[in-house]
Symmetry: C2
Subunit: 144 residues, 2 copies
DNA sequence: TCTGAGACTGAGACTGAGTCCTACTCTGAG
DNA sequence: CTCAGAGTAGGACTCAGTCTCAGTCTCAGA
């Protein structure tokens, strides 16, 4: 695990007068290790010591301080991943059959033109863009 | 309302041995009129004659036959819109403050390069892409 | 025009992901 | 050492969405 991730998280929590406790550390590490968005159930399966209510509370706090991001798919479960500032900008391959979600990147040049185009659209409609989400829906290798 | 939308919907339902009843027609029309994804509550507010359970059932059926698409945001409610084959390919501006969702299009040339790039990524990872989703998250004009 | 199969409906019971409450524990500044 | 307030566990609770079931409607065939 990258050495400075914990430091960054700790700093952001401190800035919000929050502590970086064992539970919070455990969830951050689980998300880092997975390398793709996890559901609460997957998280709890990996970290059996963390109770469900604490997991939800912790993720909500981590989301508030910008460490964790909510990833919604067409499944009924929310997934969570580390914010892109701790990992890197990426997109998702979402399997509409089994619900699996994988991370992928696209060429940075294309990324930039998408960004520019979206900012143009946003400006035209008076919308203040903060981020974008570009996901592929389809069938994963296992379900094919 | 475009004349052939009802015909297309009727045909798809018929192909699945389903009827195009008044309730189904009402919801399709409401979605068409809105021009952007609606929550169940918004739909029910527009069509007070349709009971909640029927609305959910109807939308599920319309989704199965490819007439309606589920749009998930970070809100806790699912939204529904007509499938792109009945309208046209578009993206969403999602306000993370009030939850409003608006439709927008981007230059078709950029659209094609995104499509190509995504297909390349998909092929490389053994993923069978069906569609993509490109949304802008931020703050809408009203909430700014 | 009748009739039966099965598509459709509405009301309300039910499910379960996610939230909230509360009593308790931990931590660190003073 | 102590105490304020941050953090925790777990169980009750909420409510969007699903399911069930008894009844209604439609239409093809007789």
């Amino acid at each position: 695990m990258e050495p400075d991730v914990h430091q960054t998280v700790a700093a952001r929590l401190r800035a919000a007068a929050q502590r970086y406790t064992a539970n919070r550390r455990a969830l951050v590490e689980a998300l880092w290790d997975a390398g793709h968005p996890l559901t609460i159930h997957e998280l709890l399966a990996v970290r059996r010591d963390v109770p469900q209510s604490s997991a939800y509370r912790t993720l909500a706090i981590l989301e508030q301080v910008g460490v964790v991001r909510r990833v919604v798919t067409n499944e009924e479960f929310t997934r969570f991943e580390l914010d892109e500032e701790l990992t890197e900008h990426h997109h998702h391959l979402i399997c509409s059959n089994c619900g699996a979600v994988d991370d992928v990147s696209i060429a940075s040049e294309l990324e930039r033109s998408v960004e520019r185009a979206l900012n143009r659209v946003a400006r035209r409609t008076g919308f203040t863009a903060v981020s974008h989400r570009l996901d592929l829906m389809g069938t994963c290798r296992n379900c094919a």
